[in-house]
């Protein structure tokens, strides 16, 4: 973790941690401590949300939280100082502000939401965390929420003199703000489309061998294993491009897209995937997916990927053009495996479990021939699978 004590000083800084090569910034979600609180080393001081992951940042040192620099909801670059901890403080001393405001009990509970405020907020679809509170301990009062309602732009009034309208559709519903995760996925995807020269190449693979070999495993670890083998043959796809700097990686850190249902999508990374067999990959993928759905991934587990596989095929789709997971240069898409009549052995027709391997790649880094060669290699490893 990149929160580190500043040597030779009485102050330790809590900073926005670096979480893998692609994470540039993070958002403060919740402060677990308030200014004046005593904090033990490694105790959680703040919850942050980075690209797709929510995580907790521990204190780099024991001391008293002297200053909160970044408020909740603010997004800052990696390395930005979030808070400062006075390491010369002594535990047990009263807070500096404890006598300042007798109303502020500081018991850590959020101020209450009164019934009328809750009702008004519900009627107007207001997120109360967005309303500045002027009541005791920052409680949102009825006046606060009413002022907020009055200053909301484009809020359709409940009643106008006449309900008659010349033309036009009904007033659009006010909608709800996107979750932090959805916003970040959206920003990431749009940035990727604006950055990379996306092309998608498709090959068809016969999965008969895999079908025989896989037992109770899914196709995914086999395709991952085949892709890793192909990446060893064509290492220029196991790369990251940041600005004009291309880095071809020795190790394969394989990102696996995991759906979190309606909440979004997350891409945990199997580190050093090239060292793993398909069984090892299966176990690692299962573990990461389970922890991703339980929201228990650490930031390091979702960053630093060098190549990504996405696997929505179990929902029956045949083809897709995935968006590259920046700053990687290619993403492989495994779609449904479907039994189809195919020509085999030159002039016979057989029924085989077939799939399309779709790969989006960055035309800035490679060309179509290499993409096709790579995909053909993946296909070969799948069709000639021998465990």
């Amino acid at each position: 973790m990149s929160s580190s004590p500043t040597s030779g000083s009485a102050v330790a800084e809590v900073t926005m941690p670096q979480m893998g090569v692609s994470v540039a910034e993070g958002t403060v979600v919740e402060w677990k401590k308030r200014v004046g609180d005593w904090v033990e080393a490694d105790e959680i001081v703040v919850e942050i949300s980075t690209d797709k992951v929510e995580t907790e940042v521990p204190s780099p040192a024991s001391g008293r939280l002297a200053e909160i620099v970044v408020e909740v909801g603010t997004t800052v670059d990696v390395g930005t100082v979030l808070a400062r901890i006075d390491t010369t403080a002594i535990p047990g001393e009263p807070h500096a502000d404890e006598h300042a405001s007798p109303a502020d009990t500081g018991n850590g509970h959020a101020p209450p939401i009164s019934p009328v405020v809750r009702r008004i907020a519900e009627q107007h679809g207001i997120d109360l965390t967005q309303v500045p509170g002027t009541g005791r301990r920052g409680r949102v009062t009825k006046k606060d929420v009413m002022a907020f309602v009055e200053h909301q732009p484009a809020e359709a009034p409940l009643h106008i003199e006449s309900p008659y309208r010349e033309e036009g559709p009904d007033a659009a519903p006010a909608g709800e703000p996107l979750s932090i995760m959805r916003r970040q996925i959206g920003e990431h995807m749009v940035r990727s489309l604006q950055t990379a020269a996306h092309c998608t190449t498709v090959v068809e693979a016969d999965m008969s061998r895999i079908e025989e070999a896989r037992g109770r495993l899914s196709y995914l670890p086999f395709v991952a294993r085949a892709a890793i083998a192909a990446l060893r043959e064509f290492p220029s796809l196991n790369a990251t491009l940041e600005d004009d700097r291309l880095t071809v990686h020795d190790a394969v850190h394989l990102g696996i897209a995991v759906s979190l249902g309606e909440d979004g999508l997350i891409v945990p990374v199997v580190r050093n995937a090239h060292e793993l067999s398909h069984e090892g990959l299966a176990a690692r993928i299962a573990d990461l997916a389970e922890r991703a759905r339980a929201r228990r991934l650490s930031p390091d587990e979702v960053g630093g990927g060098t190549f990504t596989i996405t696997n929505p095929g179990r929902y029956g789709a045949l083809l897709a053009t995935p968006i590259i997971n920046q700053p990687q240069v290619a993403i492989l898409d495994l779609e449904a495996v479907v039994r189809r009549p195919v020509v085999v052995g030159g002039d016979s027709i057989a029924i085989r479990p077939m799939t399309y391997l779709c790969m989006s790649w960055d035309h800035r880094v490679l060309d179509g021939a290499l993409a096709a060669q790579f995909l053909s290699s993946v296909r070969r490893h799948l069709e000639e699978w021998n465990g």
């Binding site: 109303a103 009164s114 019934p115 009328v116 405020v117 809750r118 009702r119 009541g135 005791r136 409680r139 009062t141 009825k142 006046k143």
Partner: protein, 322 residues
Amino acid sequence: MPELTYLQAISDALREEMRADERVFCLGEDIGRFGGAFKVTDGFIEEFGPDRVWDTPLAESAIVGTAVGAAVEGLRPVCEMQFADFISCGFDQLVNVAAKMHYRQGLAVPITVRLPSGGGFSGGPFHSQNPEAWMLQAPGLKVVAPSTPRDAKGLLAAAIQDPNPVVYLEHKHLYRRTKGEVPEGRYELPLGEARIAREGTDLSVIAYGAMVGVALEATEDLDGASVEVLDLRSLVPLDTDAILGSVRKTSKVVILHEATRSCGVGAEVAALIAENAFEDLDGPIVRVTAPDVPIPFSPPLERAVLPQVDNVKEACRELLAY
């Protein structure tokens, strides 16, 4: 419009009802020759004679009981308790006989029982009480508690003409201190209607009797806050529409009364609000009342027990800042 004291307004109402309606008569301790402990009936015996202005023995049960019998026979008696505190001696006749007569026998009991109530003059525990909550627990009684001379006259006239037994709380502290314009001639104000003493938007103070004036003074200039003061005037029937209307407007409520706290009018009003206007509240319902103790003789102790302007200011400030 002439300006009268609260006491003169009560006296006027009584006199005018007696002049206009010969069924009306008064009975009580020392109300005849002496003109009453507070001189409400001063000159009455001279004008109406001893047949309509009775000096009774010191026996409240007899006063109320006699009045009940007279009322059933078609008269409209007005009983004076010398002090509200003494109603306890006439309690059985009031809450069991008068209050339930219509339910049991279908007979109207149009009596009025005047209760000079309240403290603030070192009267001590037997001469300073506000016993209205007792009456609220006796279905069949109406209970009024005016705060102004105008209301005092109109509500007493209405109480005398009402077919039900009505308990009329007249606050002694207001008798000669409170003056106001009072319409000449007979008029009635409906029982069961509260009055907005001052309009406001930020907080409601709900009070009655002497505390209405305290509420108005305390919130006259409260850091620029717009404070509504609702004068209940009638405790039974309670004007629930006016109470809930005020709460829906301001969302913050202080209930103020001089009577003791537990199971008082404030508790009833608070429960009414919590049941019917919960979703309109923007803060806790706050009561400012006397604590559950007897009223002391000692002036500084009595001041500490009875709600003062500063207590109300503090409670309002606290709730406004919530």
